[in-house]
């Protein structure tokens, strides 16, 4: 934690999606609504890693996307470093989005297959007028170094990279614009454990070296256990429990959290015995 005060504050955030059950209901506008995010409040300090857990359909991804307004929230308040994200327009929104960058689950889909790694990183830097981006080669090299990739990667295209390398490039692209908050949406879920461990270690390095805060969305509780300072558990659009990772995982209060933890397959035999009792 490098400084006091909250970097990100979310208050009473809600997002509804219309569910159209049938044509008749649609015409009569009787369609039900699905509350994907329901009155969610939490905050995140500088340099803090907050894990966001929950089953599929619990609203984790919608919440993450609402924060940078990839999905427009219906109600509530989002403040980044005291600035109102929901009220921001154009230039101001663009600047706020520079300060909070997203890393997606699938680096195959989130990287442009026609661009070289270097061009991709440089474009991100130049769009946001980052200092140093005038000197392309040095800029790219420095950004690649942050994610422990060698400068020779710059000329490669995504298809020439392994899954783990691609995800490092996706992280590098986010870092190219000097964000203060990274929103990682299932960023390690598609990777083999051997590569996943390296990426998790990278996220911890970035927090220590650059002081970025990370909102780490993951459905695997063990992954959150390895990286997060605090964890928020979502169910049906609501945060049902939030607290220190150790406290929540060792003494869960909410029934849903307890059920999630109980269902988690343990990679050792202790868990097998416990679950078979």
């Amino acid at each position: 934690m490098t400084s006091d005060g909250h970097l990100l504050e979310v208050r009473n955030l809600s997002k509804e999606f219309a569910l159209q059950r049938s044509t008749r209901e649609a015409i009569r506008r009787q369609g039900q609504v699905h509350r994907a995010v329901d009155d969610v409040s939490f905050s995140l300090r500088r340099g803090e890693i907050l894990g966001l857990a929950g089953g599929s359909g619990s609203g984790k991804t919608t919440l993450a996307r609402c924060i940078i307004r990839l999905v427009e929230p219906d109600a509530g308040e989002i403040k980044l470093d005291g600035r109102d994200v929901r009220a921001a327009h154009r230039r101001e929104l663009r600047e706020l989005r520079r300060r909070m960058q997203m890393v997606f689950q699938d680096p195959y889909a989130s990287l442009n297959p026609r661009m070289s790694v270097g061009a991709m990183l440089l474009e991100a830097g130049r769009v946001h007028h980052r200092p140093g981006s005038e000197n392309g080669e040095a800029f790219v090299k420095a950004v690649l170094e942050r994610v422990h990739l060698s400068a020779t990667m710059a000329s490669r295209r995504p298809r020439e990279l392994s899954g783990g390398q691609r995800q490092r490039v996706a992280v590098a692209r986010a870092l190219a614009v000097d964000p203060e908050l990274l929103i990682a949406d299932e960023a390690v879920s598609a990777l083999d454990v051997s590569v996943q461990a390296q990426l998790l270690s990278l996220f911890l390095d970035l927090r220590d070296e650059l002081g970025v805060a990370i909102l780490f969305v993951a459905h695997q509780l063990a992954v959150i256990a390895e990286i997060a300072d605090r964890v928020a558990v979502m169910n049906k659009g609501r945060i049902v429990e939030i607290g220190d990772t150790a406290t929540v995982f060792h003494a869960p209060q909410d029934d849903y959290t307890k059920a999630l933890l109980a269902a988690h397959p343990h990679p050792d035999l202790e868990g097998r015995r416990a679950q078979q009792v």
């Binding site: 590569v195 220190d244 988690h264 202790e270």
Partner: protein
């Protein structure tokens, strides 16, 4: 030993005959009746191909280039089209990672099940419909009579996977091939599906070959595990031995990469495994794991990739046995799971640049 399924020296090739690219190399594996065997490894290790080879479902240009697959002593590779159809219909079932793409989206699930039953078992229409509902009930689908009228898109992922299991086990096969059956599912749903597989084993004595990259899933369900890397099985043992006394450096490194709930509160760095697995067509001299192995020695390039017995029902492809002493010490001390005990395995595995 009488095995239900006996795979011997299986080789699966891609590429041309003059320049074959070998994806599965000399794999031997057996599954006994009523046994749940796990096949674990990183993506690209050949575990899915091995599983699909049993059903002869290797798509062109892939082909089974060598080896034998025997089911109750009968040669699966020599079966005629008709015999193969019977084998797939009655004796072995298969479920996949993505149940949505395996179900026909324009037919109600009850009808799909009934069709399978009437083709495979020759049941009449009404009988097949009745049996379909029983099967849905058997895999834990609530209100099965009504659910039978649903289309696949109306079901959740877990429900779809149950329908797939009902389909694959409709004619009570003695072997179920499950290729990453829970990878696309939530942990709570995953637990239910794994329970279901165990129940089918307990009730019907069905054997399962479970392919997964998730050690959590393997630990929860399997009796025995085979670890695959670069197209080879590098270690095989019963589940307890793998967790407490894994011998092959790859198995140990993989186990040490698995995130654990108990880390909560003290974020930790695991090294993972540096480097990347060999690509298709990349021929390495000697041990395929040598470039990533923390214990590699120069003469590992001359090691032959064959399994050697290192203990009762425990085989490893690493003749150097760098972890053997530590492993037997831990067995002697009766130590349980202790992932730090083999810290030597991660000696080289700090945060490194990926080549």
């Amino acid at each position: 030993m009488s095995s239900l399924l006996e795979i011997e020296n299986l080789r699966v090739d891609f590429g041309t005959r003059s320049q074959p690219l070998t994806a599965v190399k000399d794999v031997s594996l057996s599954v006994a009746a009523g046994e749940i065997v796990g096949l674990v490894g990183e993506s690209g290790s050949g575990k899915s191909l091995t599983c699909r080879a049993v059903m002869r479902l290797i798509d062109q240009p892939g082909r089974i280039a060598a080896g034998t697959i025997a089911f109750e002593g009968r040669d699966v590779l020599a079966m005629s089209e008709k015999q193969l159809r019977d084998f797939r219909a009655h004796e072995a079932g298969m479920i996949y990672q993505d149940p949505f793409s395996s179900l026909n989206p324009v037919h109600r699930i009850g009808r799909q099940l009934a069709e399978t039953l009437s083709v495979n078992l020759g049941l009449g229409r009404a009988q097949a419909r009745e049996r379909a509902i029983e099967l849905l009930d058997g895999v834990g689908i609530p209100d099965p009579a009504r659910r039978a009228l649903s289309y696949p898109h109306e079901l959740s992922g877990g429900m779809r996977q149950r329908v797939m299991i009902a389909l694959a086990t409709a004619s009570e096969p003695r072997l179920l091939l499950a290729d990453e059956p829970t990878t696309a599912l939530d942990v709570t749903t995953q637990a239910q599906i794994l329970d279901l597989l165990e129940r089918l084993r307990a009730d019907r004595g069905m054997a399962v070959l479970l392919v997964s990259h998730d050690f959590g899933v393997i630990a929860r369900t399997c009796d025995r595990v085979a670890v695959m890397y670069g197209g080879h099985i590098v270690e095989t043992a019963d589940i307890a031995t793998i967790y407490t006394a894994a011998e092959h450096p790859y198995t140990r490194a993989l186990l040490q990469s698995v995130p654990e709930l108990s880390s909560a509160g003290h974020p930790r760095r695991r090294g993972g495994i540096p480097g990347r697995p060999p690509e298709l067509g990349e021929e390495l001299a000697g041990c395929v794991f040598k470039p990533r192995c923390a214990f590699a020695e120069p003469d590992c390039a001359e090691v032959e990739m064959t399994l050697r017995a290192v203990g009762p029902a425990h085989e490893s492809a690493c003749p150097k046995r760098p972890l053997a002493a530590a492993a037997s010490a831990r067995v002697g001390a009766g130590a349980g799971a202790g992932t730090d005990a083999g810290a030597g395995g991660s000696g080289k595995a700090g945060p490194e640049s990926v080549p």
